[in-house]
């Protein structure tokens, strides 16, 4: 009886160790490939995303109803008919406002897209990062729509991030505010080159910005176009803080992104990558 108990205990312990080993293997696969176990990732993205999509549309509906109707339920009885009419009109009004706001956003998005000659795919934000350490978004477009890992994600206000993981119909975007993110950039006024890195909060900082460069608070930071995925000249943010120490090669500059990530509903994915010209004067080469 005792040996049966012990053998059962050891079996359970073995299973626990095997499970933790399996977790470590998955972790090392991610570290090695920087992309995870792709087939499993794609399957799980497609498993979770419909729930996110459904929940997002339900919440949007409920939000609309709340603003349009719920605050009217306290009206007095004798005015019920009138109130119902008001409620209906209010709801219609809210729906119209929501429609107008949506049209306005889409118009801006279209205008923005038309201002560039590159190929873009519009996508909706259906979910956000579930953790408190990292920054990402889930989009309703995936490999079937031509979305690939590393592609740039933009909004009319500026750079959002780049595609980190893809499934057939959904994808995950790494925001520029995530500590893992790095985008080649330059200060618009002085053309000083640097790397925009995320801080993990809703801010970024400029890395490798030379101490000799004269930058000011309020200077705009734009993409330099030196990497293949971001076209040149897109707004990233505005410098809010500069720290220059008496020694060292580089200076520290903090910037606030142009895009308000908490209110982002639609984005554009650049489905073309740009290879910067090797010599000055030559046209920009596009690859699909």
């Amino acid at each position: 009886m005792r040996s049966l108990f012990l053998s059962r205990r050891y079996t359970l312990l073995t299973i626990v160790i095997l499970l933790l080993l399996f977790a470590l293997i998955l972790m090392s696969l991610r570290v090695k490939q920087k992309g995870g176990v792709e087939g499993l990732d794609a399957f799980l993205i497609e498993l979770y995303s419909p729930f996110q999509k459904g929940a997002t549309s339900i919440f949007n509906e409920v939000k609309g109803l709340f603003y349009g109707y719920l605050f009217l339920v306290e009206l007095e009885k004798e005015n019920r008919i009138l109130k119902q009419k008001i409620a209906r009109l209010e709801r219609e009004n809210q729906e119209m406002k929501a429609l107008a706001s949506s049209s306005e956003r889409l118009r801006k998005l279209l205008q923005f897209r038309d201002s560039f000659s590159m190929k873009m795919v519009a996508a909706e934000v259906i979910g956000r990062d579930p953790t408190s350490w990292f920054k990402s978004l889930t989009l309703n477009k995936g490999e079937r729509d031509g979305v690939q890992r590393g592609m740039a994600v933009l909004s009319p206000e500026g750079v959002v991030g780049q595609i980190l993981k893809t499934g057939p119909y959904h994808s995950i975007v790494l925001l520029i505010t995530d500590y893992n993110s790095a985008v080649d950039a330059m200060v618009e006024r002085t053309r000083a080159k640097a790397l925009v890195k995320g801080t993990g909060e809703n801010r970024c900082y400029l890395k490798y910005l030379l101490r000799s460069e004269e930058v000011n608070v309020g200077d705009r930071v734009i993409t330099s176009g030196l990497t293949g995925n971001f076209p040149k000249g897109l707004a990233i943010g505005e410098i809010t803080k500069i720290e220059k120490e008496s020694h060292g090669v580089f200076q520290y500059a903090e910037l606030i992104p142009k895009v308000d990530f908490t209110k982002l509903e639609e984005v554009l994915i650049v489905t073309e990558t740009f290879i910067p010209p090797p010599e000055k004067g030559k046209p920009m080469k596009k690859t699909k």
Partner: protein, 174 residues
């Protein structure tokens, strides 16, 4: 089996809430970790093997939808589950305040474990994330701890209703 499938479904629903509705809050720092509470509850009430596999699955999901490139939650979530499971007979968790403290301690344990792993895997990011410990992680852990008694109560009711219909993971012992 039915209970495992329902647990899986409930976990996915909680994940959906965490990555959609809870992110809409204007106080973005105050975002409770529903999945963590659920995994800790499973640690106290579910069998070792099926619960461990589910904790690993939910951790993998967290990694997949976050900007995390190392698969940290795939490792930390089963560890938390096994720890909660190991201590379940030594803890008195009947009172809501004890449940909150229990969850608070475990969420900090996970936070420190993540920072430690990041220090090993990517020392530079560790330095970037360290300041977030008090500005972001503290409100996050407090909100999670405060919500945990209510969720523990609801999970307990749900599991009680289910166990009156079927036996969870028959053939396994906790």
């Amino acid at each position: 089996m039915k209970k495992i499938v329902l647990t899986l479904f409930l976990g996915i629903l909680l994940f959906t809430l965490q990555s959609t509705l809870l992110t809409l809050s204007p106080f973005y720092r105050v975002r409770p970790d529903l999945i963590l509470i659920f995994i800790l509850f499973m640690g106290l009430s579910s069998p070792l093997v099926s619960g461990g596999v589910l904790a690993l699955f939910f951790g993998y999901g967290m990694d997949l939808f976050s900007g995390n490139m190392f698969g940290l939650y795939t490792l930390t979530r089963p560890i938390l589950f096994f720890l909660a499971h190991s201590f379940k007979n030594h803890l008195y968790l009947e009172r809501p305040s004890f449940q909150s403290i229990f969850v608070f301690l475990f969420i900090w344990l996970e936070g420190l474990l993540i920072l430690l792993l990041l220090r090993i895997l990517n020392p530079e990011s560790w330095r970037t994330l360290l300041p977030l410990l008090f500005s972001h992680f503290l409100p996050h852990s407090l909100s999670t701890a405060l919500l945990s008694p209510l969720l523990f109560f609801l999970f307990h009711k749900g599991f009680f209703l289910l166990s009156s219909e079927s036996k969870f993971g028959s053939g396994e012992t906790g």
